[in-house]
């Protein structure tokens, strides 16, 4: 029997459907992998061993029905800011430390209805605010390629789980890069769909004009499979578009002849690590060799992405997080007055980064500063959207490195929040414009740390992103496995 934990989602599904192995076999292989490595990487906030095995046994008993499920027996890990009915969902926060949702997020419900087995809930920065998982109230995750380094964030635990072989698929959420950046740092594929492509019902809100749910996988083909299952209208989310859901897997033709790729060169002039730049250029060369045309383009307002994003996202967060008041759910600090109870609950319940962002967003929205900061950032967002509109008149895809550097050391940026924010320079553009974007591994640095190639597409054109990433993967070949996670192989 092969190493079941190392199989792709499609291989698991096909093997279970054909009776080559059972869903329980796959589940046990993944749980054994978790037992061997979880202590060194801390991907999870909670693991549901008995529930996972029980669901796999149920699938194995219903063979006729199971054969038709597109994710039959496929283990999946869910970021802990997506609600799971009856299973603790903390969003990485002390304030939701004991929160047990009464319903499933739509994205989770669609995966389990398709036969996926949820193994557990992945660690993340508190309320998805962070780029390293160091802002989780439950301690940081560690990068399986080098456990002294950050896995990226905020969906770091999801990326680690897929990279370390705990599950072939994971769900995360992306607001300013929270899927793509950890995917790049951990050497896996991460896809942020178009705003409105996937339902956000049951996603704990951070910044509602940006948040999107998306998958992590070890290949573009697996990402295509899971996106097709999650995407599409949801009566419970009015921001979820009713656009038809294409057959994403049918787009994976390997053919990128005539594809036009634009590179905003001016954005690469400062602060990009030389190994990252070399991996990026060699990925572009590979796509050129397969027939794509690569040309330089302009995104004239690219340098305003970080301030525009952080002003708007924190403003939205300050409103969204007003609901945590110690009344209806979550942690409460006792006080004799109602206001005192609110203020102490929130000071004790939220961590330092969440409070910093609530303060920043409240400031940007407050009287006297609204026009200079919040409104001007909204106008900046319009200018950034126009840049992309104009770019997509000339090209089919905008390509950038996902991050300016490979994974940084844990602790390195913790005391300098602005430095942490600046690392999102290449990922904030797509969510500001509502566009889909994908990170696919494109090699390793001299220190053997993965590098991500980011592809940004037109609105609702995930097909071109997946086709291009898949075509690139065929040239690149298999990514090497992370050194830190090799002992049990």
């Amino acid at each position: 029997m092969p190493d079941l934990h190392a199989l792709s989602a499609r291989e698991v599904r096909d093997g279970v459907a054909r009776g080559h192995f059972s869903a329980v076999d796959v589940c046990q292989s993944c749980l054994a992998r978790i037992d061997a490595l979880e202590a060194s990487v801390h991907a999870f906030i909670s693991i549901d061993r008995t529930g996972a095995i029980a669901r796999a046994e149920t699938l194995d008993r219903r063979t006729a029905k199971t054969r038709e499920l597109p994710l039959a027996g496929v283990p999946v890990v869910i970021k802990d800011n997506l609600c799971t009915a009856g299973t603790k969902t903390t969003a990485g926060s002390r304030i939701l430390g004991d929160f047990v949702p009464p319903y499933d997020a739509t994205s989770v419900a669609r995966l389990t209805a398709a036969g996926a087995i949820v193994l557990g809930k992945a660690n993340c920065d508190e309320f998805a605010m962070g780029s390293s998982t160091e802002h989780s109230a439950f301690g940081p995750s560690r990068n399986p390629w080098d456990t002294t380094r950050a896995p990226g964030g905020s969906s770091g635990g999801s990326a680690v789980a897929v990279a370390a072989g705990f599950a072939p698929l994971a769900l995360g959420s992306d607001t300013g890069g929270s899927i793509r950046q950890p995917a790049a740092f951990c050497g896996v594929v991460g896809l942020k769909p178009t705003y409105g492509r996937v339902s956000r019902y049951g996603l704990i809100a951070f910044a509602s004009s940006f948040d999107q749910v998306g998958p992590f996988a070890r290949s573009a083909a697996d990402a295509a499979l899971v996106l097709g299952i999650m995407a599409g209208a949801d009566p419970a989310d009015s921001t979820c578009a009713s656009h038809a859901v294409p057959r994403y897997e049918a787009a994976l033709t390997g053919d990128v002849r005539g594809l036009k790729i634009g590179v905003p060169r001016a954005m690469l002039e400062h602060g990009v690590d030389s190994d990252v730049a070399a991996c990026f250029e060699s990925a572009l060369d590979a796509l050129r060799e397969r027939g794509a045309a690569v040309r330089d383009i302009q995104l004239p307002h690219g340098r305003y992405g970080i301030p525009v994003y952080y002003l708007l996202a924190t403003a939205e967060a300050s409103a969204n997080l007003a609901r945590y008041d110690g009344v209806r759910y979550g942690f409460r600090a006792e006080s004799t007055t109602l206001t005192g109870m609110y203020e102490r609950t929130r000071d004790e319940g939220f961590g330092a980064e969440v409070k910093r962002r609530i303060m920043l967003g409240t400031y940007a929205l407050s009287a006297g500063y609204y026009d200079a900061f919040y409104r001007r950032a909204q106008q900046g967002r319009t200018l950034i959207r126009r840049d992309y509109d104009e770019a997509f008149d000339a090209v089919d895809i905008v390509a950038l490195p996902t991050t300016p550097t490979a994974a940084f050391k844990l602790g390195e940026r913790l005391d300098d929040p602005l430095q942490m924010y600046l690392a999102d320079v290449f990922t904030v553009g797509a969510p500001l414009a509502g566009l889909p974007a994908l990170s696919v591994p494109c090699g390793v640095t001299g220190e053997r740390l993965p590098v991500g190639l980011q592809l940004i597409g037109r609105s609702f054109d995930e097909e071109t992103l997946l086709r291009t990433a898949d075509a690139y993967e065929r040239v690149r070949g298999a990514m090497p496995l992370p050194g830190a996670s090799s002992p049990s192989r």
């Binding site: 002003l311 206001t339 005192g340 609110y342 400031y363 001007r376 950032a377 106008q379």
Partner: protein
């Protein structure tokens, strides 16, 4: 060096945000927010004349579901996560007379 926010300004924002910050937190955020806001002032460079603000990304027509009643969350389930309840209600500290 960018200017720190004043402690009074930090206290004003914290009161709006309902955060009972400690003195250490006030000092830390005064310095950090000052630095972040200094950087955010980059947006002042933008030529925003006749540029409409983007408040949300429209993904097409507003999506609405049919207006038909559906079973709601049972009452007990809806309040099951509350830190303090009594007689099926949320219990909070005294409201009247609170400053």
């Amino acid at each position: 060096m960018p200017d720190d926010l004043s402690i009074a300004e930090v206290e004003r924002i914290a009161a709006l945000a309902r955060l009972a910050l400690t003195d250490e937190e006030k000092a830390l955020y005064a310095a950090q927010l000052g630095r972040i806001l200094e950087y955010a002032r980059l947006v002042a460079e933008l030529d925003t004349r006749e540029v409409a603000p983007t408040a949300a990304i429209g993904s097409g027509a507003q999506v609405e579901r049919a207006d038909v009643p559906r079973p709601p969350l049972p009452h007990e389930t809806a309040i099951a996560n509350a830190p303090d309840t009594a007689a099926g209600l949320f219990r909070v500290p005294r409201v009247l007379g609170d400053a």
